[in-house]
């Protein structure tokens, strides 16, 4: 039996991989290669030296500088593979340069194009204002004033302008024409009005075409405007405002023939520019496609290099500055592979010194790594969502299910009370069984960690406590089922606490129940201090013993039998805070005692789920399907059938399954796993190119 348990306690399938802390001593010249080979292997996690916080910031900076210099300086000509990277770098910078030049060229072209286009639009739109105003001055005035009325309702202003127009028509009236973003037009107009105190006339017309904004590459709606005003001072002001609002001003000649001529010129230059622009865009697209062809590969490569240097940065320089020292975790099964990769790196980089790879004694707890395949991965992820297993913690379990009930209960008056009682009892049986299993698993955990303290002062009292109360309840349930007794179990359980010595009367299920109850109650009461007090005191004693040993210089590190040494104490080697440990143990005990009650009650959710399911299906069957079938109308029957089918598929199958899954998950995580699974480990994150690439994506 002992042997069986020994074999069982390793439970290789269910435990995470055994990890060992290893140290790498790598000569500088093969460092780059070694690290990149390890990355390909993906089976070593480097302990982030930064996080250790021990290395001073200056040394890291220094180290970084040296590594950076080591890459570039000719002192280490052995760093062959970097040439590839350097070539790539040159290539990339060439490409970048080319692209920037192309962009600036096309931007310039685009700007001239825009200007010309705007000029053309201004010519067309503003020209029409001017033509009419020159040829039919009076008509234009009327039109203008109408325009003003309809646009701004500035009554006084328009009349003023009219007067002014008449007086300065031939001599002083000037105008500025230009184009502005539609969104700014209103504010622009208001500003002009304020600046000239109303002595101006603002005419606008939508540009019709949308013009590309060279900065944001968005199409912007613009408005053509013509401002009539008089006086030199007003002119400078208006020009300044135009500048401030980013309005582009273009001169429009008064003369009609000149206007036409300029329009023609502008149009021809526009079409020329269009051709050039198109050619430029085609050229640019070609260059971009050729770059895009290699892009993924390059990004991959640069990402790898970056990962390698990031890892190299994590390595410590040793005293002589010739070697890099790194520490990391690796699963034991992968050691050979890692050594092989390191050897390959040494050979490939022609280094005279081999890479030293040796296993160190681990003081911290190692990371957690489960080898998974596609099937188990999903389950493992669900467990990880709760927390990473403390290394090697046991996990994996599923809830069992199907049972059957005599169909003759169906439809009888006492169907519901019977089923409820049956289901509740089954839930409790299941719950007690699963919680017991959880506690037993904690035994294997403690055994695995060689932690006899946990077995003696945690596992044993927990078993006693749970089984003397709820194990006893389960026993009563089974006896009641077997004997068909009429005893009231609630009554039995409650009076077991309230008056344990009183006679049970009708509720006695078997002979000797009363003394048994007293014994169980005493056992449960004893179990509570048992799990509360001894462990912290023993930990304290062990610690002070070890501290005394430290005074004598730790001659033989293996002086202590590792089996007698509790795992948590080993971690807390440096300082031991008794009150903290005690409070922790107290919380743990209270949690267990209260948890025993609440967790058992929590398993009643199995009954609740089952009840909800059966009630819902009854309702849908009787109130929808049978009701609809009662009518002799095919349409109603069909509708009833459709509703029933819908309810079955979406409510009974989908939603109920989901809620059953969630409740089962909760029972699994909380009620089952809290007995043995701490979830306080951290995940094994090996240095691997495959993972780095995934991260980038």
């Amino acid at each position: 039996m002992e042997k069986f348990i020994d074999n069982l306690s390793s439970m290789d399938l269910m435990r995470s991989e055994k990890m060992s802390l290893v140290q790498l001593i790598i000569p500088v010249e093969s460092a780059h290669r070694a690290v990149s080979y390890l990355g390909e292997l993906g089976l070593l996690q480097f302990r982030d030296v930064k996080r250790c916080g021990e290395m001073s910031r200056k040394l890291r900076f220094f180290k970084y500088q040296i590594i950076k210099a080591g890459l570039l300086s000719p002192i280490h000509p052995v760093v062959e593979p970097d040439v590839e990277l350097e070539e790539l770098e040159i290539q990339l910078s060439e490409h970048e340069h080319e692209l920037i030049e192309m962009n600036s060229n096309s931007e310039k072209l685009r700007q001239t194009y825009n200007e010309l286009l705007e000029f053309k639009i201004v010519l067309l739109k503003a020209g029409s204002f001017l033509v009419s105003s020159n040829n039919h001055a009076v008509a234009k005035e009327r039109e203008l004033s109408e325009n003003v009325h309809s646009n701004h309702n500035y009554d006084e202003a328009s009349s003023l302008i009219e007067q002014e127009m008449r007086t300065t028509d031939q001599s002083g009236l000037r105008f500025i024409s230009g184009i502005i973003c539609k969104s700014k037009a209103l504010k622009f107009e208001r500003m002009l009005f304020r600046a000239t105190r109303g002595n101006m006339l603002f005419n606008q017309a939508p540009a019709g075409e949308e013009i590309m904004d060279p900065l944001s590459a968005e199409k912007v709606e613009k408005t053509v405007f013509v401002v009539f005003f008089s006086g030199e001072q007003a002119r400078t002001k208006i020009l300044k405002i135009c500048e401030a609002f980013g309005a582009h001003c273009y001169p429009v000649p008064d003369d009609l023939s000149k206007q036409r001529q300029i329009t023609r010129e502008v149009s021809s230059r526009l079409s020329e520019l269009e051709v050039t622009l198109d050619a430029g865009i085609r050229h640019q697209n070609k260059a971009l496609t050729s770059i895009g062809y290699h892009l993924t590969q390059w990004m991959n490569m640069v990402g790898r290099e970056k990962a390698v240097y990031d890892t190299l940065n994590m390595l410590n320089f040793d005293v002589t500055k010739k070697c890099l020292v790194g520490e990391g975790w690796c699963p034991i099964f992968a050691k050979a592979k890692i050594q092989e990769a390191l050897h390959r790196a040494t050979v490939d980089s022609n280094s005279q010194v081999g890479i030293i790879f040796h296993v160190m004694d681990a003081l911290e707890s190692p990371p957690t790594y489960f080898r998974t395949n596609h099937f188990t991965n999903a389950y493992q992820e669900i467990v990880d969502a709760y927390g990473d297993a403390h290394s090697s913690g046991l996990i994996k379990f599923r809830d069992p299910y199907p049972f059957g009930v005599d169909p003759s209960w169906r439809g009888s008056r006492s169907e519901l009370p019977f089923l409820n009682s049956l289901k509740m009892k089954m839930s409790i049986l299941l719950g007690v069984a699963q919680m017991n299993l959880g506690i037993i698993l904690s035994y294997f955990n403690a055994r695995f960690f060689h932690n006899s303290l946990d077995i003696r002062y945690q596992f044993v009292p927990q078993m006693i406590f749970l089984n003397s109360l709820f194990g006893y309840l389960s026993l009563l349930i089974i006896i009641k089922w077997c004997t068909g007794s009429q005893a009231d179990l609630y009554h039995v359980m409650i009076y077991m606490f309230l008056s344990p010595t009183e006679d049970l009367g009708d509720n006695e299920l078997f002979w000797g129940q009363r003394p048994l109850q007293i014994v169980l109650l005493v056992l449960a009461l004893v179990a509570v201090p048992w799990m509360l007090f001894p462990k912290p005191f023993i930990l304290k004693k062990l610690h002070s013993e070890r501290f005394q040993g430290r005074n004598y210089g730790m001659l033989i590190p293996s002086e202590f039998d590792p089996d007698a040494e509790p795992g948590p104490a080993r971690e807390r080697q440096e300082e031991f805070n008794f009150s903290e440990v005690f409070v922790h143990q107290m919380i743990h005990s209270i949690e267990f005692v209260l948890g025993a009650v609440s967790n058992t009650a929590s398993y009643l959710r199995l009954w609740a789920l089952s009840l909800a399911h059966s009630e819902l299906s009854t309702v849908f069957y009787e109130k929808v399907l049978l009701l609809a079938w009662g009518y002799d109308n095919i349409v109603i029957r069909l509708i009833g059938l459709a509703v029933f089918a819908f309810a079955t598929a979406f409510i009974l199958l989908m939603m109920e399954t989901l809620s059953a899954f969630l409740h089962a998950l909760r029972l699994h995580w909380v009620e089952f796993q809290n007995k043995f699974y701490h979830g306080d480990g951290y995940k094994f994150k090996p240095f691997s190119f495959a993972l780095t690439m995934d991260d980038d994506d």
Binding site: R57, K58, F61, M191, K237, E243, A244, G246
Partner: protein
């Protein structure tokens, strides 16, 4: 909401308070500053910043960096955060957030007006403006010749308009006038902001009155020191002091008559919070005063985060970030100009 913020604050302000506290947690730490101070080039600074929240804003900058780029990008991050918060905010928080930017608006107006006076290019000036203090027609400021025009043309549309009522004169703009205008505006702005916070009541009023009083007092001291030896009369000087704060009113009387820095010092030493600031300085020295004030301000801003359910955290966060950007600017400048020994002269650590 007086006295019962805790009950109702989270209905509208809870989300944003969480956001702003999250942002605050992203401020650079002592370790970050240590690393930054060790940098040899601006690229090193960029590398260190890439591990912080500034990373995404700097990662696409091509390698020969300039100090201005770093500062610009860091400010951009602040502006983005501010805009996000403003979008999410409801009244009265949105008004509160807008108040925070008015100070920058005043500075921008003064910058443009001074620049135009010295015939600088408007576009160049606009680039120097703080993005938080931008408003639509800011470029039009260049058109104005005197304060009346300035007000009538441009500022009447901005939230600064009410603050202008005190300083509308027909005098032409010159450096002195502009400086007086800036201080008058600031006075009006601080008083308005103070009144607004008092109206909000509760913890916001309590904390903001402390922060704004400090700001007002600091401005009073700065005005005094800067106006020593100028033609500003005592009465004019007193008019620029804000009408609240620890120094109001008796401290103002004393400051108004100060003729040199030591007199300012003796006036200020009567107030315990400022005594500690001045005790750090040697006699006759005013260079380090700014830093000492900034340090005190940072301390007070950090304290604002100790209390929950008030708007002071938004103000405090914006100010702390601005201080951080100033620090980054100083460090980058020192690194760029090879003056690393002076790095610690002006950096105010935020912890």
């Amino acid at each position: 909401m007086y006295g019962f913020e805790a009950m109702t604050f989270n209905i509208h302000g809870g989300y944003l308070e969480a956001i702003v506290r999250g942002h605050r947690a992203g401020l650079l730490t002592a370790a970050d500053y240590n690393n930054l101070c060790q940098c040899e080039t601006l690229d090193d600074i960029k590398m260190h910043l890439s591990a912080t929240e500034y990373g995404p804003y700097l990662q696409n900058e091509p390698s020969p960096l300039h100090t201005t780029t770093i500062v610009e990008k860091c400010t951009l991050k602040l502006v983005d955060e501010y805009k996000h918060m403003l979008c999410q905010a409801t009244e009265p928080l949105s008004t509160f957030l807008e108040y925070i930017t008015y100070g920058h608006m005043i500075d921008n107006v003064v910058l443009i007006v001074t620049g135009t006076l010295h015939e600088r290019d408007v576009q160049e000036l606009l680039e120097k403006c703080h993005p938080l203090g931008m408003f639509d027609s800011i470029a039009t400021l260049a058109v104005a010749q005197n304060m009346r025009e300035l007000y009538r043309l441009v500022l009447v549309d901005t939230p600064l308009a009410p603050y202008f009522s005190e300083c509308i004169t027909s005098e032409d703009l010159d450096d002195m006038n502009i400086e007086i205008m800036r201080n008058t505006l600031y006075k009006a702005y601080l008083e308005d902001f103070y009144k607004f916070c008092q109206k909000l009541g509760g913890a916001t009023a309590e904390i903001m009155s402390d922060l704004l009083s400090f700001e007002a007092d600091r401005r009073a001291v700065n005005i005094t020191i800067n106006s020593i030896g100028t033609e500003l009369t005592r009465d004019d000087r007193r008019k620029l002091y804000s009408n609240f704060g620890l120094l109001y009113p008796y401290g103002h009387e004393e400051l108004a008559v100060c003729e040199d820095i030591d007199q300012v010092r003796s006036a200020m030493e009567k107030y315990p919070p400022y005594q500690s600031i001045f005790s750090k300085l040697s006699y006759g020295e005013s260079q380090m005063l700014d830093k000492a004030f900034y340090e005190e301000e940072v301390k007070r801003l950090c304290l604002a985060f100790e209390q929950q359910f008030h708007y002071g955290v938004f103000f405090a966060y914006m100010r702390l970030r601005e201080q951080e950007i100033r620090n980054l600017m100083w460090i980058s400048e020192c690194v760029a100009q090879n003056q690393k020994s002076r790095v610690h002269d002006s950096v105010v650590f935020i912890f």
